[in-house]
């Protein structure tokens, strides 16, 4: 079963929050939705889990009891212990007794939270709290797992742990959609969707997105057109619409995901400035 949001548009008090955005995820794979604050990531994920009304478009998702959802904020009750958080959510999904205890302990063990069962959620570090939220979303073993920025604000070592948990879920057959502000997480997913201002910048596998790039990127210490250049360390990378435009004194580089996303953002802004 493929889950999807197709051609979704969402409007909040007159403003288009999503403009014709599509997302598709297969069982046993991870799709990353990447973008900054205000890109529309949360709105798209909430559309998929049925928490947002679409103005246009359609959603193919399983019923709510077959979805595990980790919201961007919260995800656990701070004044409850780790075990109480798990038991409460387990109860909602009709898990109890031995079945609940064994599933709970297995998930906490995998998340390296086994030693924290009696600790209040408020006493966990940011990374541990996100892993608790993930474990709560996984309790009922949902075929669709939707994670809103599980790794924002947590450190690189905890992030590796979290990515391992996400990978385990996908390896066990779940369809996983996760949003992130980190491009390296998007690179590690089976496919990615880059959003900006509620619109699609790029989508597909990493290779699809890299292949969709048109033009050339050069590396230089003194950019020819400052508005079309950005820093990569002490040097700049600069965008050219076609390879013919590249000045002879410039060195072409193979664009990576960061180059492609920055260029597509610049082009989109340039277009909308011309239009207005």
């Amino acid at each position: 079963m493929t889950y999807a949001v197709r051609h979704a548009s969402v409007r909040f008090s007159g403003t288009l929050a999503l403009d014709d955005v599509s997302l598709q995820v297969e069982p046993g794979s991870v799709v990353a939705v990447v973008g900054g604050d205000g890109a529309g990531k949360t709105t798209l994920l909430r559309s998929l889990v049925g928490k947002v009304q679409l103005e246009q478009g359609e959603v193919d998702a399983p019923p709510p009891e077959a979805i595990g959802y980790l919201p961007a904020t919260a995800g656990s009750w701070l004044s409850l212990s780790v075990a109480q958080n798990m038991d409460f959510v387990g109860g909602i999904y009709g898990l109890s007794g031995e079945a609940l205890v064994s599933r709970r302990d297995e998930l906490l063990e995998r998340a390296a939270l086994g030693h924290t069962v009696d600790r209040l959620a408020s006493q966990l570090s940011g990374g541990m709290r996100r892993k608790l939220g993930f474990s709560m979303a996984m309790l009922h073993d949902p075929p669709l797992l939707v994670l809103d920025e599980p790794s924002t604000g947590i450190d690189p070592v905890s992030r590796v742990d979290l990515w391992r948990l996400v990978s385990e879920a996908a390896a066990a057959g779940a369809a996983v959609v996760m949003s992130t502000t980190y491009l390296d997480e998007a690179e590690r997913a089976a496919s990615l969707l880059a959003l900006e201002g509620g619109r699609t910048l790029a989508s597909g596998t990493l290779q699809d997105v890299l292949d969709s790039f048109v033009g050339a990127i050069t590396r230089t210490t003194t950019p020819h057109r400052r508005a079309w250049a950005w820093r990569r360390g002490r040097e700049y990378h600069e965008y050219w619409p076609t390879t013919v435009d590249v000045p002879i004194d410039s060195v072409a580089v193979t664009p990576d995901l960061e180059d492609v996303v920055i260029t597509m953002s610049m082009l989109k802004r340039h277009d909308s400035e011309l239009a207005s």
């Binding site: 046993g28 991870v30 973008g35 900054g36 604050d37 205000g38 890109a39 570090s125 940011g126 990374g127 924002t152 604000g153 947590i154 450190d155 690189p156 070592v157 905890s158 992030r159 590796v160 990515w163 391992r164 996400v166 990978s167 385990e168 996908a170 390896a171 066990a172 057959g173 502000t181 980190y182 491009l183 390296d184 690179e187 590690r188 997913a189 089976a190 900006e196 596998t205 990493l206 950005w230 820093r231 990569r232 360390g233 002490r234 960061e258 996303v261 920055i262 953002s265 610049m266 802004r269």
Partner: protein, 298 residues
């Protein structure tokens, strides 16, 4: 602003820690760290939460006393006078959310005895709006402008680009490099490993210690990872994970940090998984994971 002929009068080191430690009760938060930041340098401070980065920064700024060792800010023990020559953007941005953009800048400028700085075009459009109502990218831009208003000689930035998109991040790094080119020394923390390449030099902390320093290549050193390419990635992932290998998913490939290729081949062969197993250079995250998992040295 630094003129070439003024260069000699600049202190050679802007931030310095010399064998610095800090304990809180029985806990050692920073353990024997020596580091420095010179003029025009962009130095990245990396590490997990709890590795000691924030404690080190607070000591460098004179906000926290050292238990052992000396720190210097702009050539002397950090005090209020020296801190006036410093620009600091904390993780929480340090803006007044219930004041407007213009009011925030007027307030900071007055506190430092400077003239309120000019706004970028995008901030001019929202000068009279409350900071709380702005998107995060603009809030980060504003925090930078506020921190730079008094022409500081040192900049300390705690996760300056967290949460913003690639283009906004590029704009913030433009500003950081412009400052460095003027001679400002920059100490910056980040959780985004893609930003390691933006720094001239990296300091990597783990469990209160400075465990590695240098360029990204220096830090990765000879650490390798194993790339496993197979049609059965889910099974490969599962058997390696069960065998306790530090395994990661990368697209449709599986990577194992700090493993022995032959050992990985054996695990896969025993489980009947056909795969192509090759050694590849590790990423900086993989190196950090290896250092974080390493047992305490005697």
């Amino acid at each position: 602003m630094t003129h070439p002929d003024e260069a000699e009068t600049l202190p050679a080191v802007l931030l310095r820690a010399d064998r610095v430690s800090r304990t809180f009760g029985a806990v050692t938060a920073v353990d024997d760290v020596t580091m420095r930041v010179g003029p025009g340098e962009v130095v990245g401070l990396l590490g997990a939460n709890g590795a000691g980065k924030t404690t080190l920064i607070r000591m460098l700024l004179g906000l926290l006393a050292t238990s052992v060792g000396d720190v210097e800010l702009l050539g002397g023990p950090p005090d209020l006078e020296l801190r006036r020559r410093l620009g600091y953007v904390p993780q929480g941005l340090g803006l007044y959310r219930d004041l407007t953009v213009a009011e925030n800048l007027a307030f900071t400028a007055q506190a430092y005895g400077a003239i309120p700085p000019e706004l970028s075009e995008s901030l001019r459009l929202v000068a009279d709006r409350l900071v709380a109502d702005l998107p995060l990218g603009l809030q980060r831009q504003l925090a930078f402008i506020a921190a730079l208003a008094h022409d500081p000689e040192v900049l300390v930035l705690d996760e300056p680009t967290s949460g913003v998109d690639a283009l906004a991040r590029a704009a913030l790094w433009d500003t950081i490099h412009e400052q460095a080119e003027k001679g400002v020394g920059v100490l910056v923390t980040t959780h985004n490993m893609k930003e390691a390449e933006q720094c001239d030099r990296l300091l990597l902390m783990s469990q209160a210690r400075l465990v590695a320093q240098g360029s990204e290549a220096d830090i990765i050193g000879f650490t390798t990872a194993i790339a496993v390419r197979t049609k059965e990635w889910a099974r490969a992932f599962a058997v390696l994970n069960e065998a306790g290998q530090p395994v990661m998913l990368a697209g449709r490939d599986v990577r194992v940090a700090d493993a022995d290729a032959d050992h990985v081949r054996t695990i896969l062969a025993d489980a009947g998984v056909t795969a192509e197993v090759t050694g590849v250079p590790a990423t900086i995250e993989e190196r950090m994971m290896v250092l974080a998992r390493a047992p305490e040295e005697p």
